[in-house]
């Protein structure tokens, strides 16, 4: 017994303590509780994994702990049990490790914010649900965590609930996620109907026994519904619109929830249910397509954003698209690998951006920055590490994972590879565009920038090291018992091309934003249409408003309310009322108001009943 339950319970304790008594606690106490609980659960994860000898080639198959039966009704039997296999192990390491770092960072970042204890309580609660999600050994437990992280993301996006845009963003995230969760729930129902259980092990065991279906079928249905859920949580087309707005939350939240962990839940979920996907080629194809389109579109949007966090947000969407591409092309391990590296460098990017914003005391507009490398050197260096990592410059982490995905894409369909490479180029371009705009040139803002305290840049440094060297953690090898590596030699030129694309992007960005800053304007003017289109994110939000929201509102107002509610339902109810009153008006005559006459009536009735039973014989 490894006491897995301790891993999520520790953050929950932190949440309870801070949430219930945080008002009375002093900041040091809150920090100790919040950070301490997460660090402790990270250490416990390490202990558990060593206990299962996961690092020394152990943990070949799933290790499961059963706690108690949650729901037991008829065929439905949900038991609360946690399970660890190598996939979970990777996720656990990422979630708790990055989570711990970000908690530490947040101590510094939030130091001057109001609602201090509230923030950390929510953060711990998020950790709790995320760990539940990762550890859950059946669909329902997974779903509990799934909804929980959604809730926490809502709470934290709307953390500055005094600003309207924050609350709006929170609502948007929540509602968009509902759509995805709807699909997920349907998928769960299908699974239960079809397999009669929700336990991962049993379901997948059954699936393995079944043949791969050529055309659409139950597997395709389940997979696509799951995919809907995944697109909701992981911000893929068409449900990605909430993520950029989610940047309204505090930067550590953006780093932890909307870059490193929660948004990757969809990827994790698809990888977890890979057995089902592997049985439906069409579904995998669709996953790949969704991923690729998302990656491309988001990257293009990212080119033209001026808010530093928005840029990274779109880059997150695009990178998630990469992961989906990996999953869709069957390279699940590559997807997870990229998930890990992405967690490193994207968290780093956001934290760095946060540090910049902190330095400029709240300024987020790239046009108000510039030349900061002299003022905040540490942030500069670390962000550069992140940049090269995400741009796929060898030998840094992004290079390894992204290349695996691209190779898988090439073996799947060459055109996907080319699109991916182009996207990689764009990624490099816009990331470095942001960095150059931020750090080079001359300072355009008017705040006085200052370097962040150690409690903030220490995590940056650690993450920088991870995103530089993280590529040598051979996750695919580690995941081999679950996702067998695709054999078949890879042609070396693929790598050269993608690396070239990355370097090209960087070079282009250098040319545009360092050497001749006037060039972008002219370019933008010459391609005005394209630019405005991209700048306004393809008017997707507006499109959704026009296509979905408005009809919804009008329809419900005109049809459901005016006709359905007032006419039918109210009419029915009132009809009953009037009828009852009419009948009552007749019956009132009998109601003399003297209780004894009532008693006499009762007596009469009793006599009749007895007479019936007595003379007709009791109804047997």
């Amino acid at each position: 017994m490894q006491q897995l339950w301790l891993i999520p319970i520790l953050p929950l304790l932190g949440f309870l303590l801070n949430g219930l008594f945080g008002k009375r606690f002093s900041k040091p106490v809150i920090n100790t509780i919040a950070v301490g609980s997460v660090v402790l659960s990270f250490l416990w994860v390490l202990k558990t994994l060593t206990g299962l000898s996961a690092f020394s080639g152990g943990l070949e198959e799933t290790y499961k702990e059963h706690y108690y039966t949650w729901i037991q009704s008829g065929a439905l039997n949900i038991s609360v049990d946690f399970a660890i296999d190598r996939l979970t192990a990777v996720m656990l390491m990422v979630v708790t490790g990055v989570g711990a770092l970000i908690h530490i960072y947040a101590v510094g970042y939030m130091a001057h914010e109001g609602g201090y204890y509230r923030f950390f309580a929510y953060l711990n609660l998020f950790m709790f649900f995320m760990l539940i999600l990762v550890l859950g050994a059946n669909f329902l437990i997974l779903f509990v965590g799934w909804e929980g992280v959604g809730l926490c993301s809502y709470l934290l996006i709307g953390f500055y609930f005094l600003e309207k845009f924050a609350t709006d963003a929170g609502n948007k995230a929540f509602i968009v996620n509902r759509i995805g969760d709807f699909g997920f729930v349907l998928a769960i129902f299908l699974v239960f109907i079809h397999f009669g259980t929700l336990d991962f092990a049993t379901v997948f065991a059954q699936v393995r026994g079944m043949p791969v279906e050529a055309s659409a079928g139950i597997f395709t249905a389940i997979s696509l519904l799951l995919l809907v859920g995944a697109t909701g949580k992981s911000a893929q087309i068409p449900l990605y619109v909430w993520l950029p707005d989610a940047m309204a939350g505090p930067t550590p939240v953006s780093a932890l929830i909307h870059a490193a962990t929660m948004v990757t839940a969809g990827v994790y979920m698809i990888a977890r249910t890979s057995q089902i996907y592997l049985h439906s080629t069409n579904a995998l194809e669709i996953v790949a397509l969704v991923g690729l389109t998302t990656a491309f579109v988001a990257a293009t949007i990212g080119l033209a954003q001026n808010d530093i966090k928005k840029v990274f947000a779109y880059s997150t969407v695009s990178q998630l698209g990469y992961m989906f591409l990996g999953l869709g092309t069957g390279a699940f391990s590559a997807g997870i690998f990229h998930l890990m590296t992405h967690a490193f460098f994207k968290a780093l990017l956001f934290l760095g951006a946060g540090s910049v914003i902190h330095a400029l005391s709240g300024e987020q507009d790239l046009r108000q920055m510039g030349g900061l490398r002299k003022h905040i050197p540490i942030t500069f260096v670390t962000l550069m590490c992140a940049g090269v990592a995400i741009a796929g410059v060898p030998p840094f982490s992004g290079y390894h994972s992204k290349d695996m995905i691209l190779e898988a894409a090439y073996q799947h369909a060459p055109w996907m590879y080319w699109v991916g490479v182009f996207t990689a180029g764009m990624t490099a371009f816009y990331v470095f565009r942001a960095l150059f705009l931020c750090f080079f040139g001359k300072y355009r803002g008017h705040h006085h920038p200052h370097e962040s305290p150690a409690v903030m840049w220490m995590p940056l440094a650690i993450l920088a090291l991870l995103s530089l060297g993280g590529g040598y953690i051979n996750v695919p090898k580690f995941l081999e018992p679950i996702f067998p590596l695709a054999e078949g030699g890879t042609e070396p030129w693929l790598t050269y091309v993608s690396v070239a694309a990355g370097l090209g992007g960087i070079a282009l960005a250098y040319l545009f934003y360092v050497l001749s800053p006037s060039l972008p304007e002219s370019l933008a003017n010459s391609f005005k249409g394209v630019y405005t289109l991209i700048y306004n994110k393809y008017f997707v939000d507006e499109f959704y408003d026009a296509a979905v929201v408005e009809p919804m509102v009008d329809g419900s107002r005109q049809l459901l309310w005016r006709v359905g509610d007032t006419r039918l339902i109210d009419g029915f109810a009132n009809g009953i009322g009037t009828t009852a009153r009419g009948i009552g008006g007749i019956l009132r005559r009998a109601q003399s108001g003297y209780i004894r006459s009532y008693a006499a009536w009762v007596l009469a009735g009793a006599i009749l009943a007895i007479a019936y039973i007595g003379f007709m014989g009791a109804p047997r």
Binding site: S592, Y594, R596, S597, A599, A600, L603, A604, A606, I607, I610, A611, I613, G614
Partner: protein
Amino acid sequence: MDALLFMIFAAIAVICGINLVVQTHPISSALSLVGVMGALAALYLLLGGEFIAAAQLVVYAGAIMVLFVFVIMLLNAGAEKKPKIRPMGKYLGAPLLLLFFGMMAYLIQQILPSSPPVVFGAFQGGTAADIGRSLFTVYLLPFEVTSVLILIAILGAIVLARKEVD
């Protein structure tokens, strides 16, 4: 002997019952009701219901009726005026009552399977142990529900009888 005892206690019960109806002062009625209950307790003993007899004394005579007497004394309710019977009561109640009684008698005589006369000690199943056993096994659910009912009654009584806090 059994018959004699039955006669005695039945007589007590009936007389007290009549007294309950004819007395005009509530407290006299209350005491005659206590008398009925005592007599019934004795009859329960004859029928082998020891526990029920004791419960009859403790619960009914000892608690409920004391509560009645307490309330009567608290309100210091005087004797009621000459009861002017409502038409409903006069023209419907009394005849119906006779009809009802006659019918009961007829049914009891006709339908009931003839059974051996009541002898004290012929039925031993009414001890506290038996009652407890079937109360906590077969009738557990009703028992629990009743306990909830009692709880609700307590709350209701408190809410009704408490002083109005302004």
